[in-house]
Every structure is written in structure tokens, then in C-alpha cells.
Symmetry: C2
Subunit: 216 residues, 2 copies
């Protein structure tokens, strides 16, 4: 499938292509050129062609790209042609919010259970999905195929939980706790969503923007 290493910079852009192509598809657009796409996406056409060519030649000279075909192919590249079962560790507000986000399911990401240590939550459900106690985790993982664990718990507990999950055979973690999990050398893929980092970036740009306005 993959041959040479593809830079994460490219990978970061792929979901965005997928999104735009999905919209074109919904709009009934059949074909598109890198040039037209570059205008709507506000990136260079060269970058689009370069990015796509990392994975193969999906276009045709003189024609462009077939929207449906390209959309499907990028979907395959991103693994969206297969189902991913998710468990959510930490059934607090964020965990529940994610569980309620139906859109993920359309992409093949299906939440099959939530876990928490708070006994008050035991047996309750979110969108029909049950909240279990952490003690039940080993059995649950043995009985169900769990592809991804979403970590939505306080940072103090995140690292220990992550190690525990890896022990139970989980190979992918979607980490919302604002720590960097110390899982080097472990056979596990981690994707971080650091909301406070994001806010701080925004804050930096706010201050910068104000400054530039004052001095121009």
C-alpha cells in the first residue's frame, strides 16, 4: 500500500481535500481541475498535485480529477473504507459531547462504549451507548474489537490510563487530555487534541492582530 514515507505535513492536508471533495460531490460536480480546486481551497494548484501524487496519479491530463473517484481514493488512503470502533475513556462533558457527535459515524468511526470511574454514571447511556465502569474494561476489550480509545479525562489520570489501554491491546489513542502521553517505543499511534494549546495560539494571534492594527 504505502511505499515511501509520506510527510505528516501532507497527511494533515488530506482530510481537508476529502472534505472539499465531499462538498463538490454533494453539489453534483463531476470533475475538477487542480486549478479550480486551488481557488476554492486557497492553496496552490501545485501543492494539490504534489500532495495527491504521493499516493498515485488520480487525475487525467486535459480532464482533471473525477470528483467521486478522487473522494473515494482519499477515503481509502485515510482508512475511511473500514469501520473503526471507539471507546471513550472518561464520560464527563467532553466524552459525552464526542459521543453525541453523530457525524463521526458517517465516516466509519463508531463509538461502542464509554468508561468512567464515577459510580453515579454506571449503566447510564449517551445516545443509547452505555457507560461502563473502568473495572469492566478488560472484559469489554476481550469481547469487542476496539480500534481507538478516546481519552477525555483529567491529565493526572491520562498517562496511567493510556498505559493500561496499551496493555489491553489497544493500538490507537485519541488524546484530549492536555499532556503528552509518554508512550514512546509502545506499539501505539497517538493523535492529540490539545484544546488549550489551540486557544493559546488564537490568543497569540489576537494580540498580534491588535498590535498590527495599532502600528499601521
Amino acid at each position: 500500500m504505502q511505499e515511501k514515507e509520506i510527510s505528516q505535513a501532507v497527511i494533515r492536508r488530506m482530510p481537508r481535500y476529502y472534505r472539499y471533495l465531499g462538498e463538490l460531490l454533494d453539489d453534483g460536480v463531476e470533475r475538477i481541475s487542480s486549478n479550480d480546486l486551488s481557488r476554492t481551497m486557497r492553496v496552490t494548484a501545485s501543492q494539490i498535485r504534489q500532495d495527491l501524487n504521493n499516493f498515485g496519479g488520480f487525475g487525467q491530463q486535459g480532464y482533471g480529477y473525477n470528483v467521486k473517484y478522487l473522494h473515494d481514493e482519499i477515503g481509502k488512503i485515510l482508512g475511511l473504507n473500514q469501520r473503526h470502533n471507539i471507546i471513550v475513556i472518561g464520560a464527563g462533558n467532553l466524552g459525552q459531547a464526542i459521543t453525541n457527535y453523530v457525524k463521526f459515524e458517517q465516516l466509519g468511526f463508531v463509538i461502542i462504549g464509554l468508561f468512567d470511574i464515577n459510580p453515579a454514571l454506571e449503566g447510564k447511556t449517551v445516545r443509547g451507548i452505555r457507560i461502563h465502569m473502568m473495572d469492566d474494561l478488560p472484559e469489554f476489550c476481550a469481547r469487542n474489537q476496539v480500534d481507538i480509545a478516546a481519552l477525555t479525562l483529567p491529565k493526572e489520570k491520562a498517562d496511567a490510563s493510556a498505559h493500561y489501554l496499551v496493555e489491553l491491546g489497544i493500538h490507537a489513542i485519541w488524546n484530549f487530555a492536555h499532556v503528552d502521553l509518554d508512550l514512546i517505543d509502545q506499539d501505539v499511534v497517538v493523535e492529540n487534541v490539545h484544546l488549550s494549546d489551540s486557544l493559546m495560539q488564537l490568543s497569540y494571534n489576537i494580540v498580534k492582530n491588535r498590535f498590527e492594527k495599532e502600528h499601521s
Copy 2:
């Protein structure tokens, strides 16, 4: 304050430095060298020094960096020395989850109101913070200083809301809707949190990881 343009690559790393320095501070560490920090953060010492030097010389030869001082300075760079009032547009699960996330307040980001169009939510509160109807937005913005609007609503409504917010004088948007807001040329700073993009990246890396295991 800022002189030459600093690349967003650097800015993306600053919150992470801030986080690690905060932890060192909590641990009572007084000073640290770029070398020691590089080991814990798993980046090169050279990058740390280079990054920090974009903003000035915070260290001292033969000594290293004073943790508290550096933490404070990075905080200032990121604008964490001032308060940022946030309104949340869309009081659904995600909006409420964010509102409940107390940690932001410690960083100076204070949520002062939620807005929705669902009449059933009118007057309810989340962590003591009131949910208003969208109709009240103009008056609310006139009476309160609103620095950031967090957009936690369906993508169909995101773009129109964003334009409306800009009209009302808001200059910063924290966008959770998975569309790219079309706000070029507007005097507004946008920070995106595209959760599904993040999930797709994770998915890509899962597939890649599996593939590499099978072929090694």
C-alpha cells in the same frame, strides 16, 4: 512588541513550552537548560533555543533558563497576561462541554455567555453561565467586551454566524464547525479545531501502522 514576522510553526510550539515549564514550576524546578528540556520534550535543544530567540534572549550562558521567568515571558507572548472573554455560539453538547472545562479560566479565558436558537434552552445555565437566545446577541455584545466567539454549531450555520459575529465587532473566532470559514479580508483571527480531520489523521496512521507491522 513583535518586530519581524514569526512563523506559525514556532507559534504552534509555544503553548507546549508553556505547558512543560508550568509543570517544572509545579515541581519546584528553578532552572533548566535547553538540553535538559530537550530531553523531556523530545525535541532538539537547538530548536528550543532557536524558537525562544525569536522573542528575545531569556536565558543566560552557563546557567540556562530561569523556569519561572521563562514561563511568565512565554505567557506574555501568548497573551495570557490579559483576560479574554469568550461567548459560545451553539449551546449543544460541545458548547456545554467547553463551558464546563474550568482549566481555560486559569489561563485567562473566561466564558461569559452561551447563545443558541433553541427556545427550550433559554434562561438555562451551564456552570452558572446563562444561555441566551441569538436575538440577544447584539445587545450582549454592546454591553460586554467579547474577545472571542467559540463556534460550536452545525457547519450549515457556521459561516453565516461567523459573518454576523464579525459585523457585531468580534475579531476572533474559535471554530469547531468542520468548515473553513470564508472570512478572508475580514479583520478577524480564526483558529480551527477540526475534530473529524484529527480523527482521519489518526485513522491514516492506524492503517499505516498495521501495514508496517505486517511487512517487517
